[in-house]
Amino acid sequence: MSAISFTVNGNRQTLDVAPMKRLLDVLREDLHLTGAKEGCGEGECGACAVLLDGDLVNSCLVPALQVNGSRLCTIEGVSTEGRLHPIQQCFLERGGAQCGICTPGMILATHHLLDKYPNPTLEQIQEGLAGNLCRCTGYMRIFESVQEAAKAGAV
């Protein structure tokens, strides 16, 4: 076991965990942050995506030790006191969420995308979200949600 310490959604955490435990399991099991989902366990689907020092990562591929000293943002940290972030609001209004299982990862990927390109082109959106699979929507409502969020100056 190793002691690791990091911040999640602004809260400092110190945990004693197996160093190779997947960050996804640390979040879900040790911290009870279940917003990150396991879809494939091999970094293909993006359902477990979180922001690690501002980078979008698949938490199923990140060993716990690697987050020591880092700053994490999960879906639970995107809203403020129950108030939806503009990205969340746009996903809700525009049909960007159907079954909802990819939605946490998709919203964090959008956050990351809009950080990089506040007014993304459709191509930038398509590329920026290509690591997050959605089986329900065909992505069209998601693209619209992202465009609306950009218009609202979401990030």
Partner: protein
Amino acid sequence: MSQRKPILGASPLRKEGRAKVLGAAQYIDDLSLPGMWFGATVRSSIARGRIRSITFSPEIDWSQFAIVRASDIPGENTIVHLTKDHPCLAADAVNHPEEPILLLAHPDKTALIAAVRGVSIDYDELPGVFTIEESEAAVENNDIERIIWPGSDQGGTANCFKQYLMYSGDARETEDGLAAAFETADYIVEGEYHTGAQEQLYIENNGVIAECNKDAEGNVTDVCVRGSMQCPYYLVHALTLVFNLPEDKCRVIQVETGGAFGGKEDFPSVIGSHAALLAMKCSHPVKITYDRAEDMAATTKRHPSRTRHRTAVSKEGKLLGGSIDVAIDGGAYATLSPVVLSRATIHAPGPYQWPHIRVRAKAMATNIPPHGAFRGFGAPQSLFGLERHMDKIARVIGLTPEEFRRRNFLATGDCTATGQPLVEPVDMQHLLTRALEESGYHEKLARFAEENKHSSIKRGVGFASFMHGTGFTGSGERRLNSLVYLDVLEDGRPQILVSSTEFGQGTNTILSQVAAQTLNLPYDDIVVAQPDTSVVPNSGPTVASRTAMIVGKLVERAALQMLTMLRDDVKLPEDYSPAEFKAAALAYRAKHGSLRSSVRYEPPAKIFWDDDLYRGDAYPGYAWAVYVAEVAVDLNTYMATCTRFDALQEVGMVMHPVLAKGQIEGGVAQGIGYALYEKCMWKDGRMMNNQMTNYIMPTSADLPPIHVHFEEVPSIHGPGGAKGIGELPMDGPAPAILNAIENATGVAFNTIPLLPEDIFERFTSFTTPSHGGSEDIDPLTDIDTEVESPEVNA
């Protein structure tokens, strides 16, 4: 009081949407019960054989594990669907790879990985059959060794789960008519079309948590399973047999479900029964969640198919007669194959007038994990064959695909191939005109033909015309006899109680819209009860594009009945405000203790269906559509890409434009995957690419713009004039795309999925002499289609 702004046809926020965007929605793997253990499945490593022995590794302390084998099942060892051939756990014999044999549970889920490996099973292997053709050959040759399914007293014959023979009229007259048609036809066109298996690939894998209570003697008194599923009452039925318990002792609760698409229609009966057996054995709640590899390897997929057409056509382009033979690969057990085959059969003739048609259909057994429900449910398979064949015929007789279809479309007042009169308006001519206009089809047809001469990227356009029946087939809805409740809670808010589940498609939202509109109350006031079979009635399974039209109509009727109850009993005024409704509802509750409006399905008048002859009103209503695909085929990489998609459909009145668009776009995306990306690779009955890494579904970067168009024609069947929508968009994309590829390249491809290697192989075979390079690129000589005609034969 003024009438509120209509909520049906508006796009209120998805009921459970807020929890979903917050990441707060709780799916099965997010839930935990006190003292919960974890379960795992030991599966067959071979396709077919007899179990000789099971040995447990001495290196593991098995006393720490709960172990369930077939002999532990207190009731029947069966997962019931339509027949009881499918065991819950293999007892003596296995019939497909990954067949469940043993179940293990342990408090620490990490201990299970080694434990599953620590069980060794020895088999006497038997020969397997892995394709429709091998299964047929075994029957034809009376090869007893390869008769892998014996038939059953609930239907089916050796290696064949089900057969249908459907005629457009009296059998003898139709046969005579067909014989005459083929005798006198100007052209006879034959074709064979194949579709592959397709994984549903919901992003949330199958998962459940089960609890089990026992009496002092250790007998099971009741079980409770919660999990990711479409049809809670299907699982109740399965549990009653496995545990030999009455229905009210088998409680099932659906929790937030991360996608389903049919993949969680029948399969939860398997995993739910397994978890409940483990809970019985270890006396703890047990959670089983599959990982992706297990889910893909062991659970259901879309049935592979082969459709053969033989069609008699006049030189004026009229269909004179047709023979269609559909075969689907059902896998090792019957499961839902007979009903999937039924939908394939009824949809095989498409939206056309056939003076004489015969459809023969069969579901064959193979030693592959059972294939099951997937959006479209047989229709995408037979419609792929039909709509490719329609383009073929058009080419042979020298008409455009458009003109040929126009000369044969069904119209209002015509009868379908099952003899169902189309009473509600149908205007395929207009749908085709509008779809071709919206997509710029004619302009592109001309432009691409010109541009292709000078480019190695060949572009093309193609379309498919089709329909999808909504609701259960034939007498199915009558048999389901669905029931819904509408209550008023103690705070005065109405609550909808149905077993229809939400898994992304919008059940909660549209049913709330129906209740809000009918009760003339704000949408936000409507509550939807969690589907818990101890609370909600059986409103039927959440399948077959039936929720909006059938269950929605029941919710509408329940709301109307509630208003009558309130008017009659507590004098709710004709014209009331939400506050007056609440006051009246609470007064009713105070007087009677509760307020419940209960409504049962009533078949529409004059609906007639003959299950033996396969004649009559096959579906209460049909959605009609024309889909147009634009493609680019790169002859350097042999990659075919869909570059634009237009989906026009008539689905009655649109209840929720945002959700409806999302349904169509999502279905089209799955259809594009079905056509161009998603290939299940099989080896001896086992899926070899059971990972997202090598089973490729479309990403956001792969899909073209999808333009969705609705033609709104009110239907008498659904609430607010709506019809079903869920499955329709799966039917059209694949044939439209392959028609477009033929338009782009001049080459007819008749098998999906169509991957770059398939295109490469076909193109290089034209130019490489060792591959018999005398073939030319003329589509009339394509490898799958035979043409007989006076002109061609002369």
